[in-house]
Amino acid sequence: MFYREAGQFKTSYAADMAIFPILQDRIGLAVILAIAFIAIPLFGSNFLIQTVMIPFLVFALAAIGLNILTGYTGLISLGSGAFMGVGAYACYKLTTIFPGVNIIVWILASGFFAAAIGVVFGLPSLRIKGFYLTVATLAAQFFLQWSFVRIPWLYNYNASGAIEVPQRLLAGIPVTGANATPVTRYLVLLSIVILLTWIASNLVHGRIGRSWMAVRDMDIAAELMGIRLLPAKLLSFAVSSFYCGVAGACMMFLWYGGGEANDAFNINQSFTILFMVIIGGLGSIIGSYFGAAFISILPTALKFGLPAMGIALSGPVAEHLNYIILGVLILFFLIVEPHGLARLWQVGKQKLRVWPFPY
């Protein structure tokens, strides 16, 4: 009814190729941005921001990164946790060596270090494919995680063996460290995530995204079209690792406020992000958000939502129930739509467009 594109005629290719060609989509996006930038900082509690929104955004960024590699280029990686770690440690080293430089510059720059490491571990991808490549990326995960723990230089020889995030200011306001308020950290994180989402969406909609998808769908034909496989795959590894690296730096500096690699950048983290991408929808930017929301927000919602609805549960029961419900929901969504929540969203939009007619 309200979601109709009737009467919206496109008179140029530019309008037809816009990422949101339908007016209602653009309005919806503006509303979401307004809520995220204005309503949540103004009215959201610290709990909402710190426990729900910040983790969601960090995971969404990492999921976009992995989606570029796995969803768009068809290379499954189990090293995203480690690449996040590279970002976090790079950012830590950079900001302790050059404390005068703005922390946001270093958060973004740390992505380049992750990208470089990602390219190195992406080199085998020309020769090996599928599950074998997945195993090769596992090597990255274990090797890098080992380095984070065993090379004390990386954590500045701290006795705790962990990153201790120092305080850094942006225009006189603390952005990182113990004194930074959740709202400040949230706003900084949100800006980074939106900027990088916009860039990712630009990339996948152009020549570069098409060459990635061509490699994914039929590499022989792609080569014949003049796409060189190794550069295309390595570029995908680089961009993907860049996103994971920035997500890792954000995780340490804007969310955890310090921590150790074995907790934050372990194999579980890699799996979590892979699940987000699969459940959210392979090859879809918005799917990355859905997947991140599903896996990072739902447990919190269940944990605090059920008691709020009057269902009082003891600690361990709630914990176990949480896992059960989450597992059942994952199964349910994968059966209903194997292509992920993003496809479900598309189908829903299509239904709305032609409502009340079936097609």
Binding site: S12, Y13, A14, M17, I19, I199, N202, L203, H205, G206, R207, I208, R210, S211, M213, A214, R216, D217, M218, I220, A221, A222, E223, L224, M225, G226, I227, R228, L235, G283
Partner: protein, 272 residues
């Protein structure tokens, strides 16, 4: 048809001095002990439709794979546009202007028709990664320019209605047509078609023939095609080369080939 598409090169009108676009000389290809091609020689003239026929397993597809660099023959020479080629990769073949379609459709199934055809323009796009980060300005102008060209191909192949449909959902006949479109988007000098009409009904075959002839006449594109439908081959091709068990057994105009005793034997079998 818009002028931009016809610009490629003028059709060679005089048959008296045919220019050779591609020459295959004494090509031998074997996989272990199996000889797929032995000592095959033929040429393809500019702007002609050249058919390669033969019974199953005769080495026709292997021949195409040699021409566009998937296989490297053990012996023999392949000369394209007057240049002898050393071991080349499919990427180099694409760069030199050889496009092809596959026997079993090799489209990018998850992408739309339009994206598939746009992918064929990859080699003509030059904007760097930096501009693609923003999708504005030069990168976007380039996209739009190539979109225009692709729209002309879409118009030519009459597939406007499936422009934004993922090709995995299309019926087979349309997929074949999209694949032809993707190859055409490369503006090739030599177009290799591997069984473009396999599995089609009569109507679809007629459409496909029309497209092949139109491509040849309007853009002067040289076409080499493998096809099993003899009616089609004899009707549309200028010259035919016949392979059997990796050997060339006949080469000439459709009428000559049809009358050749060895070809008749190869197809109908011969009593011993």
């Amino acid at each position: 048809m818009n002028e931009t598409m016809v610009q490629s090169q003028p059709v060679v009108a005089s048959a008296s001095a045919p220019e050779k676009l591609l020459t295959v000389e004494n090509v031998t290809l074997s996989f272990g002990g199996v000889r797929a091609l032995s000592d095959v020689s033929f040429d393809i003239r500019k702007s002609e439709i050249r058919a390669i026929i033969g019974p199953n397993g005769a080495g026709k597809t292997s021949m195409l794979n040699c021409i566009n660099g998937f296989y490297h023959p053990q012996a023999g020479r392949i000369t394209f546009k007057g240049k002898m080629r050393q071991r080349m990769r499919p990427y180099d073949a694409a760069l030199q202007g050889i496009a092809r379609t596959f026997q079993n459709v090799a489209l990018f199934k998850g992408m739309t028709t339009l994206d598939n055809i746009l992918t064929g323009r990859t080699l003509k796009m030059h904007r760097s990664f930096f501009w693609h980060l923003f999708r504005h300005g030069p990168a976007m102008n380039e996209e739009i320019e190539h979109r225009k060209y692709c729209e002309e191909i879409i118009d030519f192949l009459e597939i406007e209605h499936i422009r934004k449909t993922p090709v995995g959902r299309l019926p087979y006949g349309l997929q074949k047509r999209v694949e032809l479109g993707r190859a055409l988007a490369m503006q090739p000098d030599l177009l290799l078609l591997d069984e473009p009409m396999a599995g089609m009904n009569l109507e679809e075959k007629e459409d496909m023939c029309r497209f092949i002839l139109d491509v040849n006449r309007q853009f002067g594109t040289t076409i080499a095609l493998i096809e099993h439908d003899m009616g089609v081959v004899m009707d549309i091709s200028d010259r035919v080369v016949v392979l059997e068990y990796g050997h060339k057994i006949a080469d000439g105009s459709p009428d000559e080939v049809k009358a050749d005793q060895r070809v008749i034997d190869a197809y109908l079998g011969v009593s011993h």
